[in-house]
């Protein structure tokens, strides 16, 4: 059973500056990445831009209002889908974690949903809702929700059932037991699920925008690629990735500290 309860919930995304991370590690890592990049740029010229050119492009991007317009648009799409997918996924995950019947019913559907390639969701969403905001939102949410459900379900199943018995014996009403006994146990898994859901949302947003939207970071990257402006592709991608990384660590990291204060 362990093998089945381990999956995604265990997959803590690797903290680059975890406890005890030192400066030498960072320097060697970044240095070697730059060297590899530079060598690649020389070998596959002009398809890989040099780090120096890219840096100039990044600087230019940071000062361009159009870039920030795209950035804000994409961020709003990511946050919307992230919020809905996390809530819906957590709700389904808790339901199927608590009820074997619900699990038997939903498990095959989840497996099917996970086997659908993301571009297919996007294409069908466009057919159903047109190329507006709704299509991207729906496609992102539908693609991310099953992952969240799976993470939450494993942690519901791995809960301390001794506390369930305690709640029954002291006759806690269902709502109180859910709120005070079950949910706090799930907080670590919910946070992992939220992290995972956020990371997946912004990564998929690039695909969604590239295929189905006229604006946003993904569309801009794909447009640059179509015009073979690889420097712009690299610059936009790097800023976007770093910004999302910072957002995730800053906001979710702080939430995590607050919610898990009782550990100790």
């Amino acid at each position: 059973m362990t093998a089945k309860t381990l999956p995604l919930a265990r997959l803590r995304l690797l903290p680059p500056g975890g406890p005890g991370a030192g400066l030498p590690g960072l320097v060697i890592a970044l240095g070697s990445m730059l060297v590899i990049w530079q060598l690649g740029a020389i070998a596959v010229r002009p398809w890989i831009p040099t780090p120096a050119d890219t840096a100039v492009e990044i600087w230019a991007n940071l000062q361009s209002p159009e870039f920030w317009l795209d950035f804000r648009l994409t961020l709003a799409r990511v946050l919307g889908a992230f919020a809905l997918a996390t809530l819906a996924g957590a709700a389904v995950g808790i339901l199927i974690g608590l009820s074997e019947r619900a699990e038997a019913f939903f498990q095959p559907l989840l497996a099917l949903a996970l086997a659908v390639p993301d571009p297919v969701y996007i294409i069908f969403a466009i057919l159903a809702f047109g190329t507006g905001e709704v299509a991207g939102f729906v496609a992102l949410t539908v693609a991310v929700t099953p992952f969240v459900s799976n993470i939450v379900r494993s942690s519901v199943r791995a809960r301390d059932t001794g506390l369930d018995e305690m709640a029954r014996i002291y006759r806690l009403p269902r709502a109180a037991a859910l709120r005070h006994q079950l949910l706090p146990q799930l907080v670590p898994a919910l946070l992992t699920a939220a992290r995972f859901s956020f990371a997946l949302s912004w990564k998929l947003a690039v695909v969604v925008e590239a295929i189905g939207q006229p604006d946003g970071i993904g569309a801009s990257i794909f447009e640059s690629f179509r015009l073979l402006r690889m420097r712009e592709v690299a610059a936009t991608a790097i800023i976007f990735i770093l910004a999302m990384q910072l957002l995730e660590r800053g906001v979710l990291g702080r939430v995590e500290k607050r919610l898990l204060g009782w550990r100790g």
Partner: protein, 265 residues
């Protein structure tokens, strides 16, 4: 037949799982204020019994009556019980006070009296200073004291204790064991105490229900003939312990090689 001071009445209770029996037949009564130990070998259907006596699991056969109300009827309410588990089962994200308030919120105790009640019970258990501590910061013995406080707090019909001292180190277990009788007398609690330790049962209980190997029945309803206060190291405790060991030798199969492994419930 049920007199007003009968708290728990078990009639013809049987539990089996898919045809294989764990408890074959139990009949007993427990009166208000009594301290009854249940002593059985491992695999005597202990958890089945605890689950049926606590309202968690309907028995396959028979009746459980708590304060005149029969459990497991279609419309019956859960009984008002205290339960001290082997592990403390406190909610680690709530302080001691918050843990106690949570169970009070599900009881009929009026809110104005909570504070005084909590203070009184923490005082009895000598843990007043930990009122606002997180459970994870307490020692094993202190957590078990909180767990006992939680059980006493809801004014239960009776308290089930499932080897509550077995996970503590011997010194801690001794001091808590010593206090337990006094605590129960002071609060007038009725206790059903499940244990594997014969000496512990003799020391704590008014009566000991000795079970057979599973599928279990009551092999003897043993009245402990020692007045209180008792001393854990007293020679008379040892004598009674030795007497019980003599009685259970054959039914528990203590000196015979085990031919078949019984299922443990």
């Amino acid at each position: 037949m049920t007199s007003s001071d009968t708290v728990l009445k078990v009639v013809d209770l049987g539990v089996s799982y898919g045809g294989s029996p764990a408890i074959s037949r139990l009949d007993f009564e427990i009166r208000r204020g009594e301290f009854v130990a249940i002593l059985g070998p491992s695999g005597c259907g202990k958890s089945s019994m605890l689950n049926t006596l606590s309202g968690l699991m309907a028995p396959t056969r028979g009746r459980v009556v708590v304060d005149g109300d029969e459990l497991y009827l279609p419309r019956s309410r859960d009984p008002r019980l205290g339960y001290v588990f082997q592990a403390h089962r406190l909610l680690p994200w709530r302080t001691v006070r918050q843990n106690l308030e949570l169970v009070l919120s599900a009881s009929e105790v009026p809110r104005e009296t909570w504070e005084a009640r909590i203070d009184e019970i923490l005082e009895i258990l000598h843990i007043s200073q930990f009122k606002d501590a997180w459970p994870m910061r307490l020692s094993g013995g202190q957590r078990q004291r909180v767990s006992i406080a939680r059980a006493l707090l809801v004014d239960p019909s009776y308290i089930l204790m499932d080897e509550p001292l077995s996970t503590l180190d011997e010194v801690t277990a001794r001091s808590l064991r010593q206090e337990l009788t006094g605590i129960c007398q002071r609060t007038g609690a009725t206790v059903v105490f499940v244990t594997h330790s014969i000496r512990e049962a003799v020391y704590l209980a008014d009566r000991i229900l000795i079970l057979t190997r599973g599928p279990s029945t009551i092999f003897e309803d043993y009245h402990v003939p020692i007045e209180r206060p008792r001393d854990y190291d007293d020679a008379r405790i040892r004598e009674v312990e030795a007497d019980i060991i003599r009685r259970i030798q054959v039914p528990w199969g203590l000196d015979m090689p085990q031919t078949t492994e019984r299922r443990s419930a």
